[in-house]
Amino acid sequence: MVSKLKQAMENGKFVITSEIGPPKGTDLEKMYHHIDLLKDKVDALNVTDHQSSVMRFPSIGGCLAIQELGGEPVLQLTCRDRNRIALQAELLLAYSKGIKNVLCLTGDAVPVGDHSQAKGIFDLDSVQLLHGVRQLEEGIDFGGNKLEGAVQFCAGATVTPEAEPIEPQLIKFEKKVAAGAEFFQTQAIYDLERFAKFMEFARQFPVKILAGIVLLSSAKMAQFMNDHVPGIFVPQELIDEMAAAPKGKALKKGIEIAGRTIAALKKESLCDGVHIMAINREEVVPEILAVAGL
């Protein structure tokens, strides 16, 4: 069985993915609720892998829950916590359980998280991990040994279209493509003109690009992201628009902005789909999609 996400992308559908952040602990009720709410509204759901280096229920556990409910999971796999042996084992397990999509990430730095004294592994980087996935597909492990039963994945990666300086980022993007990335989910983008410039570059390559949509929940959050989150540029007009929202209506405004951004991306065929990150507010994703007319 091939990946449904891959099929959707190949069929030229404007693809929608979103993500689930697993809980810190074993109470899975909310996670199941979010999966249930989103699984039929999107083409695939990522499960974050100890995002921001905060220890949580594992990505693979979330992916299995999505499978259980009949959804299409994307395993986020970072190089932060596992050496090349553990990364391969995770891929073997995922494949054996029917998980068909993997997003290969370097991972956030350990000191930014909630176990700031832990050892950061980074035995591999994201480009090497992508290469490794392709090698496992050939039936050969990273040590050059033959596998009893190979894997097959639709492999993706990330890119930051607003990185500064941009050229090293674009060079790395090309390396990820060469290493076998089939699709990219981008860091949040808000300025479509600037994004269009990135897309001009990205369109030279045979890969699908899903634009990152991060829900703005308040003017303060928008300003914070602009000032402090690497590779995110929020235009002043949007920050002002958020600030002008009546009291208690900021989130609604954020939903509207996200929805109309998605609609514009689709209308102008700027990219191949979107990846919606509604960090801790998964339940509003259907509203965003409704505003986008999807």
């Binding site: 000191p111 930014v112 591999l124 980087d125 480009v127 300086p165 060079i171 090309e174």
Partner: protein, 214 residues
């Protein structure tokens, strides 16, 4: 090249030397003097603090270079005071501590934490230049080591945390890949940045690392 150290909290030194009340104190005239963590002034201050805690300091010395083989002879010159002690408190980097440990049967107690082996970039500003990985890639990275200059030791380019040329872990620190990129660009060698670096061999010399020249 200097071994960068900082003093351990005094309480930790006291706890490590619990029940060992007669102490011989050693400082180092090289790195620990420069960093003001184990030079003559710090050794004298430590002597006083230990005495205030009720310890007997049988003697002290600031070795010219605690990690050097000469240390054996110099310790010999202080034989009497050393023999009177129950432990040696060492205000040198961990190389000095281990050097002394080779020569004396007494417990050695470090009074410093060793941070890294650093190179001076500008006066007083040290950075870790090399992680001694055993397979140098400086020839492809514009002479800047991504294993030490990049927080994550990445080889194939910047992570998503890079921000306006700075590193995700500390906005005061440069992102290694911005430095590498700028330098390669200047040299007209950006092609090197496009080159795929395969996974690194982290076992060139498996630990414990040893090398016998003779």
């Amino acid at each position: 090249m200097k071994s960068l150290t900082k003093q351990k909290p005094f309480d930790e030194v006291i706890q490590l030397s619990d029940q060992l009340n007669r102490v011989f104190l050693i400082g180092c005239g090289t790195c620990a003097t420069m960093t003001k963590t184990g030079g003559i002034n710090e050794v004298q201050a430590m002597k006083k603090s230990l005495q205030d805690e009720g310890k007997l300091v049988t003697g002290w010395v600031v070795l010219p270079m605690a990690c050097d083989e000469m240390t054996a002879e110099l310790l010999n010159e202080n034989k009497k005071a050393v023999q009177d002690a129950q432990c040696i408190i060492v205000m040198a980097c961990a190389l000095g501590v281990q050097r002394i440990n080779l020569y004396l049967p007494l417990p050695v107690i470090p009074a410093l934490d060793t941070l890294f082996i650093g190179m001076e970039k500008s006066p007083g500003h040290f950075f870790e230049a090399c992680a001694q990985c055993g397979q140098c890639i400086l020839g492809e990275t514009a002479g800047i080591c991504p294993l030490t200059a990049c927080h994550k030791g990445l080889l194939n380019g910047p992570c998503g945390g890079t921000d306006k040329g700075k590193c995700e872990v500390d906005p005061e620190k440069d992102c290694a890949f911005t430095l590498i990129y700028e330098r390669l660009k200047e040299q007209g060698r950006l092609d090197l940045m496009r080159k795929y670096h395969p996974p690194k061999n982290y076992q060139v010399i498996p630990r414990p690392r040893e090398s016998r020249l003779l």
